[in-house]
Symmetry: C2
Subunit: 149 residues, 2 copies
């Protein structure tokens, strides 16, 4: 298990990749973001996007999935209080293969809780052409080693 003390500014973690399919784009959007360019291929073709694109909430959730499977499953994570910035830089389209990466921007011990601290992170996702499609900045709460003493 990794604790806050195991991270340092500048560390980079590659989070693996995943290919997104049209059916999953449509299923997610029908439940959570049923705008025409997310659920209706024909309406999407006539939109400014020229074809079906994934909901940004879906893209963000896919990044989170990669982050948990690629790193957080072995981190003493305590959740997060929010996101400081999220950018959908390029549309994500059916059959795009997305690759995730996490860069540590900084670590800080909590002054309120001796057993934890925050990890400030930059999350990025790229498509199969290497184009950035998603950028997220946020601070995650992580347990300190002292919490297991």
């Amino acid at each position: 298990m990794r604790y806050l003390e195991d991270f340092s500014e500048g560390q980079v973690f590659e989070l693996g990749e995943e290919t997104i399919r049209e059916q999953e784009i449509v299923d997610f959007a029908r439940r959570f973001d049923a705008q025409p360019f997310h659920v209706d291929p024909e309406a999407a073709r006539r939109s400014i996007y020229g074809g079906l694109i994934a909901s940004g909430w879906h893209t963000g959730s896919l990044f989170m999935g990669m982050l948990v499977r690629g790193l957080i499953h072995e981190v003493a994570s305590l959740g997060a209080a929010g996101l400081d910035e999220l950018r959908w830089l390029k549309p994500v389209r059916p059959d795009d293969t997305l690759r995730g990466r996490l860069t540590v921007l900084g670590t800080r011990f909590s002054t309120k809780h001796a057993d934890r601290g925050s990890l400030t992170c930059l999350g990025e996702m790229f498509n199969q052409r290497g184009e950035p499609v998603l950028l997220i900045r946020w601070s995650a709460m992580i347990a300190r080693k002292v919490s297991i003493r």
Copy 2:
């Protein structure tokens, strides 16, 4: 259909409510955010949250669903480039009933595309005790009326 010109600063839209169930919390998190406090009721009980809580990506996606059903389905929406801030203010737990609200913070015509502009929004979600659980600030792209002339 509502266009950018139909919105003005200070407008408030109530987006309805929805009750979230344990099974949906677990299903979403297994796919996108399988941290123990989102997928394992027993591990969640032992966590700092004292019980199962929804993934923040799930909470945000639920807000988006309410926003689309409660307002965007009748708006000439063109998507969004990102979020400027997102806060998960309180944990969302099984059987919580969430209520969504959108406040218009401002509107601005695009200087680049004469047929569209941006709507700056504050999105909020409250639980059945009236406690805020989610806050989001972002700008949405909306078509102008000129786009249909």
